[in-house]
Subunit: 446 residues, 2 copies
């Protein structure tokens, strides 16, 4: 039986590492007041194919017994969480409270060719804030702060959250006298794959810019700073436009408000444009050190028209973390894993099969106080029962009393054993749940 | 835009009720040492169609751009969590520790006609214990105990966990001299839909039984007891067989070990057979009071051959809770809902837009101590900000100081307001997370 390419699956200790990450993300999102929603996995095909670009990657659903002549069900699996969210907002607009903060952690599917960092089934974690008609700018700041805080607690290599503002690019190009700013943006966006002088050439040949215009566009894209000093660098290029001013003020406010911490460094990076997407202001991308070839692992931005029903418009700002894109390579190739394959903190040993009731009762006393506990499967020699715990990463083995003896509990990592009462004993708090055993270091990654 | 029949979706306060249920299930499963796993949503069609019965309900996947002549991808969405789990166990047998306890809470899909309690996309919560070659009987007891404990904490109408043992049925039929026990089981299983005298008739005409045999089979199926008194009732029918003895002893042990508590009543019910399935011993079904028309909402049993690779056999015992089947009618028709549409415990009010930084800082102090907090979207009059909290079900509004005043916090349910320090104030523990607002009572259900 062979594994299915593009459909990652984890062993239990790997899954525990993923759960630690998912629980952490949920915790941060909820601390900031984001509501959980889930949308159905399938959407009508006309909903999914509205954005031309991604058509080819949709999985269409057909009922097996639909009959030979019947066409498909008209449904496809969602390929992101933004299209279903926009549909959900419109469908429930009368019942939602705006501004509506939501997080959504769900699987999505794309029928594309599997390769590193690209899967056919994968998990995304999105946060968005959506309003009716108008969404104040301070929500751009909030989205960046929340996702930076969420990412800073992840057991992953260093992350760089790169922030830009489309108003800077558009305003700069307009101030330069460029006729088609969108075309210039598309060319500059190729700096990912092409060297600077090639992009400079394209700006002349395909973008129709003068050498001076092209050089200034390239110079703008090369500006990057960890603070608002980027504003002076842009000003030094001598271009003026009202939209540029707005963009510079917005980006400076985001950069000044979002703190680098933990594994996350925040920078203004004026190369970021988010391609052809529907973003209208702030835009985000994120690189993971040693994994730049994966592309951005957390992206998003401001879109002034997430959805519209003709009467009302719903502007939003959001950001999407590629949980699988981040974790699958770290887990499957670089040893990111939890210290246990089970949730259990304690294994209650079994003296003999006749005393199973005593072991079960002891376990239930520990569980009643929130301590995950399992009972040994069979009454093997204690040495074997300890190895049973060791193989699963269970830190404590509990020995029920034989005759007049007391209950005892052993930390099998230190072999330290003490008498204990199942109604009062507590493990150290950090042993109550699985923990990350290894975080890949930079050395392991190269 | 119309909703898709068979693909349930929840509003945020409904989703919070579902999350309370899912978190509770996970908590109980983990307290008992069950490991979380997730399997991919798609399986090869030959894997899914191995059990003939369910063929017609599979959703087949096709890539949109696969080309007109191309056939399907060979993949279908899983229709339960047992088939994928069996495949996962075989595929990873060398890396798993047996006996392997796992829980799996995931969506499954069936392309069937939507009707009450039947969905095209729905969530199941499964627990199973699987061993290599041999699985001692005490695991049957454990599975029943864990799921009974999990169900007893659910905010739902009264549940009856009905337990039987296939060995009783088979042994009894063999002891009676019945030639084809499986055929008799299939007929007796119709007691759900047909009256007793009709079943009696069928046992004669289709089952080929004498009147005496048929009456005894029917009498057996009508035995039900909340304790091991069922053994005497079976004995009184005067049938003897070794397999019957084993079955009676096993069922008596399960019934004596699993306690009725909370909303769950445990009974031995000798009518339960789990149809044509692959069960070989203990079998479970569960009825919800007032929702008997939904059928069993939690079912399972012992299967001596979950999987086999020719060399090793993997026996198991498991039970599957239909989370959507249970919750969707309660939520969408009977008002089961959480008391908030957001996770937030506190709304920090905004004095004016200039002091947003102070409100944000105050919120961050509360979050740092684990209190979910959001900041008001705009500096409306305080009365409007309080109504903003009310509409979302946020219990506390925090007022940052104006001038020399102190911070203050108001419980908007009582209008009680006190001075408070954002570095030390704590809400009552039960207000830290959403709670179930309404549990449908028996009156509401009829």
């Amino acid at each position: 039986m062979s594994r299915l390419s593009g459909f990652p699956e984890f062993l239990p200790a790997e899954r525990n590492a993923e759960l630690i990450v998912l629980d952490h993300l949920r915790r941060v999102f909820e601390l900031h007041g984001f509501s959980s929603i889930e949308t159905r996995s399938a959407e009508p095909m006309e909903q999914l194919t509205r954005k031309g670009e991604i058509d080819k990657e949709v999985y269409v659903l057909r009922r097996l017994q639909a009959g030979e002549g019947d066409s498909d069900s008209g449904l496809g699996l969602h390929f992101d969480l933004t299209v279903p969210f926009a549909r959900y907002v419109l469908e429930n607009a009368g019942k939602l409270e705006f501004p509506f903060r939501r997080y959504q952690i769900q699987k999505v599917w794309r029928g594309e060719r599997p390769q590193e960092g690209r899967f056919r089934e994968f998990t995304q974690a999105d946060i968005d804030i959506v309003a009716k008609d108008e969404l104040p700018f301070h929500f751009d700041v909030e989205i960046a702060q929340v996702m930076a805080e969420a990412m800073s607690g992840l057991p992953v290599p260093a992350l760089t959250l790169q922030i830009n503002n489309r108003k800077i690019l558009e305003g700069f190009y307009l101030g330069l006298g460029v006729g088609d700013p969108a075309a210039v943006m598309r060319i500059v966006d190729k700096l990912d794959k092409l060297p600077g002088d090639k992009v400079l050439e394209l700006l002349g040949t395909d973008g129709g810019l003068t050498t001076d215009q092209a050089e200034k566009c390239l110079a703008l894209a090369q500006i990057s700073a960890p603070d608002s000093s980027f504003v002076e660098q842009v000003r030094a290029l001598g271009v003026e436009h009202e939209l540029l001013d707005t963009g510079l003020a917005e980006l400076a406010e985001v950069i000044d408000s979002v703190t680098s911490s933990g594994s996350v460094t925040v920078v203004a990076d004026l190369r970021i444009a988010r391609g052809l997407d529907y973003y209208t202001g702030t835009v985000f991308e994120t690189q993971m050190a040693g994994f730049e070839h994966l592309g951005s692992i957390c992206s998003g931005g401001r879109y002034d028209q997430l959805a519209s029903d003709g009467k009302n418009t719903y502007p939003g700002v959001g950001i999407s973390l590629g949980v699988s894109r981040l974790l699958v390579p770290l887990i499957t190739k670089h040893g990111l894993v939890a210290d246990r394959s089970v949730p259990s903190t304690v294994l209650v040993a079994l003296v003999d099969e006749e005393s199973r009731a005593l072991s079960m009762e002891t376990a239930q006393k520990l569980r009643a106080r929130g301590i995950p506990t399992e009972v040994a499967a069979s009454a093997q020699k204690f040495g074997k029962q300890i190895r049973y715990a060791e193989r699963r990463g269970i830190p404590f083995v509990w020995f029920p009393p034989v005759g007049d003896a007391n209950h005892g509990v052993r930390d099998i990592r230190t072999a330290n054993q003490v008498d204990a009462d199942p109604d009062t004993w507590n493990p150290p708090t950090e042993d109550l749940t699985p923990n990350i055993l290894r975080t890949p270091s930079k050395e392991q990654l190269t």
